[in-house]
């Protein structure tokens, strides 16, 4: 995962330099180019969230968490979802990757990063009110009706609300398969084989496409964005659609009444050695 944009730029600069020197790279012809891709479009969701490195603080009035002046990023699970979609495209199994976000116009920033990573185009469904998971799923369904993707890849959860719902809800209202918590994904014809990280180990399932896959952290490691790609991304299409234009029935939301900080555990004692540890455990009746 990326630590910060500055690092990415430094990295990108260096690579950009090399690219300028080698002016006529030999075209690579891979086997995959000979056959047509298995799937046409892949839709990927990118949620703008508080960066995972930020230590979140609850506002003193309990109305939410502090987001003013806080670094915002693509939800890390969504970044992995996009990386997977790009790898599928790059091995010749898909022809187009579309990134989608739902939120305020600020989310353009995350979509531009997605375009710089390698997506072809972006769609921002604009709303100032955060969308609840069911409304979010209905928004994706409306875009599916428009774009007819063969595959939708989402993060398994967003690290702000930690709900882990949208992918499953989308699959439900679409009437299509869901493969959640995925750590591996292969596509063959109109089927996908997915390895899922479940409580007892790894479960492998096969789903018919189209379908929804939600990804876990071990799926892949997302690429760094290079400076030339950031420049290129500025010219890629980013369509903004006001939520009201999609004609979606808004779901009844779960109302957030009050936020509070968690109960802190008290710092305990430091013992000198193993004898001290054993004595302390005996004292508590734990051994």
């Amino acid at each position: 995962m990326h630590s910060n944009l500055a690092l990415r730029l430094v990295h990108g600069n260096r690579v950009g330099h090399n690219m300028r020197r080698r002016r006529y790279p030999l075209p690579k012809i891979s086997e995959s180019r000979i056959r047509s891709p298995f799937v046409d479009k892949i839709l990927v969701g990118l949620k703008r969230v508080v960066d995972y490195n930020v230590r979140v603080r609850v506002k003193s009035d309990g109305s939410g968490v502090e987001t003013d002046g806080v670094k915002m990023s693509i939800n890390p699970f969504d970044e992995i979802a996009l990386e997977e979609a790009l790898r599928i495209k790059e091995r010749g199994d898909a022809s187009e990757v579309i990134v989608v976000s739902i939120g305020s116009s600020d989310a353009q920033q995350q979509l531009r990063t997605g375009l710089a990573m390698g997506a072809e185009r972006a769609i921002l469904v604009e709303t100032d009110e955060p969308a609840d998971p069911l409304t979010g799923a209905r928004i994706f369904k409306a875009l599916i009706d428009r774009e007819s993707p063969d595959l939708v890849i989402l993060g398994k959860q967003a690290i702000d609300d930690d709900n882990s719902q949208t992918g499953q809800m989308l699959a439900a209202i679409w009437g299509r398969p869901q493969a959640t918590f995925a750590s591996n994904l292969t596509i063959d014809g109109n089927k996908a084989t997915v390895t899922r990280e479940v409580d007892v180990g790894l479960e492998v399932i096969e789903i018919d496409l189209p379908g929804v896959v939600t990804v876990d952290l071990r799926m892949n490691e997302a690429r760094y964005v290079k400076l030339p790609d950031i420049m290129k991304a500025k010219k890629k299409p980013l369509e903004q659609i006001p939520l009201a234009k999609l004609g979606i029935e808004m779901a009844m939301g779960i109302h957030n009444v009050k936020f509070e900080p968690p109960m802190e555990r008290q710092k305990g004692e430091i013992v000198e050695d193993v004898a001290g540890l054993v004595a302390a455990l005996k004292d508590k009746g734990l051994i």
């Binding site: 069911l134 609300d161 709900n163 719902q165 499953q168 899922r196 180990g201 009844m252 009050k258």
Partner: protein, 314 residues
């Protein structure tokens, strides 16, 4: 009155303890009547176990060969067919429940509450957000079903001793065939299950290798404990993914937790917040794990753990 349907989690004829924890949560709702649904290929043994849980009024069985592998897409429409008349539908926030329940909620046209950690009232609950760095009190709309998952680590399983009536439901829904089970890869282990063990010994990246992780297994076996690991240790290939404890792994609440060679990243601490006693062994005195540990030992784990092992075996 609240009429609550709990979706049982089970495998190979055994009821998962997460179900008894859902019952514990549901029984905190005022004036609750609790039913358990066993959607299975052969429900008999699981239904008998569910009927024996305290506070359960009735067990409803749905038998269908298609339920053998408990696929969310297959089970969800059957749950929806049972949902009529219930004010609440609960499942555990295990990978089973987190996969299934949002699908159920969406088919019912309602939003879901994830990870209930405290009941305030019939439609009001507390749940963690931002990896547990904030707790939010939520209110569900009245007059539509409350679909929710229950954070297992926040509840103690209800005792046995119930004697619920068991009935069979025949429902007419089409089970989709677009999702097919291939296989389950699972490490066979005689150790206590990580999610329900009273004691857990966990190791981090500082163990350095798969071979060195044997230290953790040995200590666990001496204590009769389950084994956990940090994401870093899993990513480094020391142990399989099902041992991961933390925000994206398992959330656990053992009576005793040993954090060995674990620095205490916030994502890991999220998974052990509700543990009874946390013991930390780490060579870095400034490691964040010491901020939450009840007992800490600063030093080299490769010297301390074998010594502890010897002291406990003696």
């Amino acid at each position: 009155m609240s009429k609550i349907l709990i979706i049982a989690e089970h495998a190979h004829g055994v009821l998962n303890q997460s179900t008894a924890k859902c019952v514990a949560c549901a029984s905190e709702i005022p004036d609750a009547e609790i039913h358990v649904a066993v959607v299975a290929d052969n429900s008999e043994a699981v239904a008998a176990a569910a009927a024996g849980l305290a506070s359960v009024k009735s067990v409803i069985c749905v038998d269908n060969p298609a339920n053998e592998n408990q696929l969310a897409a297959v089970i969800a429409p059957q749950v929806v067919a049972l949902a009529d008349g219930y004010s609440h539908i609960f499942g555990p926030s295990t990978t089973f429940g987190r996969d299934l329940m949002p699908r159920v909620a969406a088919l019912l046209g309602v939003n879901q509450i994830s990870d209930i950690m405290e009941v305030i009232g019939s439609h009001s609950f507390k749940r963690p957000v931002y990896a547990g760095n904030a707790i939010v009190t939520v209110k569900a709309p009245a007059d539509i079903p409350v679909v929710a998952t229950v954070r297992a680590a926040s509840y103690r399983a209800v005792a046995a001793g119930g004697d619920a009536a068991t009935s069979s439901a025949s429902i007419d829904v089409e089970c989709p065939e677009h999702t097919r089970f291939i296989e389950l890869q699972t490490g066979k282990s005689d150790r206590p299950d990580l999610q329900t063990a009273a004691k857990v010994v966990a190791g981090g990246r500082a163990l350095g290798s798969k071979e060195n992780f044997e230290l953790i297994f040995k200590l666990a076996d001496t204590l009769g404990a389950g084994v956990g690991a940090t994401r870093a240790a899993v990513d480094a290939g020391y142990v399989p993914n099902e041992m991961q404890v933390g925000q994206t792994g398992k959330i656990i609440a053992p009576e005793l937790y040993f954090a060995i060679g674990i620095s205490g990243a916030i994502q890991h601490l999220t998974g052990i917040k509700d543990a009874g006693t946390i013991v930390a062994i780490n060579k870095d005195p400034d490691a964040p794990i010491f901020e939450v540990a009840d007992i800490g030992v600063v030093g080299d784990l490769f010297a301390i753990v074998p010594e502890l092992q010897a002291a406990l075996s003696g």
